[in-house]
Symmetry: D2
Subunit: 127 residues, 4 copies
């Protein structure tokens, strides 16, 4: 299996063989990333959670999901490349930041945002 | 450096320590992926390409970019995990599919969609 | 109550008093429209349908919904103004187009897209 | 010409003739609004501002723009109807809120967000 960096290099070669870097401004790449995310969202349109669970077993639906997930990753790699960001490093740093924002004792079983969690924790401390 | 699979395992551990899987339906995860993509897009709002190029050198802007890219990747990993998709395999397969859709001789230096490229190629063949 | 055209004129006056037309390229306006749509979507994040139904009765949530809906409309008016589109005329024409795409006898009680509806209708006709 | 309320009534009649209200949860409607906004954004993909200005004169492009703008408005009307929001009232109130956030003397010719405008104003006051 290729690792993420191998995929990144394949993608840049694909781009450069077609002379497409000229179109890849940061804004254009981020717009395209948003369009691919929306295509992923479109696969869920009008479907209930139960219908989506069933659809996950359907080969055509799975292939559509796989293709759209891939498109999101490919544009994300291009954005990161353009901005000089190491995605794996960034992801690891973000998990650490989230762990600090969402301490297990406050966040366990809660879908609240960290800004609301703090308020709740502060209120409890005052009681 | 961690590889993508190590990040995925850290992320799932982070999620499970907080008992958050209950909120992570496929639709909710894809909605969240779209929200994070939009936050990345917001960083480009009202900025020209020249202003964005300058901003890439600004540490605060770079950190914001890095954080939003990380959030997109983290939700993409959760979507892929929920749907049983191997992201690296999917990305490699998609690059191959795109290579077939965009042959170098037709796509070189062109921003046209593959559906339009075919029309242009057909017209040229007729001439 | 103001009508849509009165709102449009108030909005253009607001823009011109601040000399903001210079930032309002078609792409920038459409990007901003997408960001406001995403803020509306964020209000539904992690909420079930039942929780959203309950939230509709909460004054703070209602105000947030109202504000984000307004933002979407305001950017849509700016996009339409920039492109020389009459929104009401466009909406009426689109309802007519949709009525042709989704004949009542085929579309009744179905969430299928019109492209799929046709396939289903064709299959039935063949039977 | 119809006014916005006439369009709203036509749209609700269109929906009810097809028995579609059952699919129109608030979340589904807002997701669909986001998908239509993304289709509008797709029309700008890879195009420069100069290319978009030229495209505005192309009948096929104009029709695509008009259709996507209409779709955004139609879903916005459904969202507003579901949430009991008067769109025109909401838009007028939001223009007033924005006028307070962006005083002409501070916001003239500036693309800064109101949160940044305040900081700039505060700094100037201190000087």
């Amino acid at each position: 299996m290729p690792d993420l960096d191998a995929i990144r290099r394949q993608l840049l070669a694909f781009r450069d063989e077609r002379d497409w870097k000229q179109f890849h401004t940061l804004k254009n790449l981020i717009v395209s990333l948003n369009l691919e995310s929306a295509e992923l969202l479109e696969l869920t349109q009008w479907k209930t959670d139960a219908q989506l669970d069933a659809a996950k077993g359907d080969p055509a639906f799975r292939e559509a999901l796989r293709d759209e997930c891939a498109d999101v990753l490919l544009y994300l790699l291009l954005v990161a490349d353009d901005a000089g960001i190491d995605l794996l490093e960034a992801a690891q740093a973000k998990i650490a930041k989230n762990a600090a924002r969402y301490p297990v004792e406050q966040a366990f079983g809660s879908a609240k945002k960290y800004t609301e969690l703090k308020d709740t924790a502060r209120k409890k401390a005052r009681e």
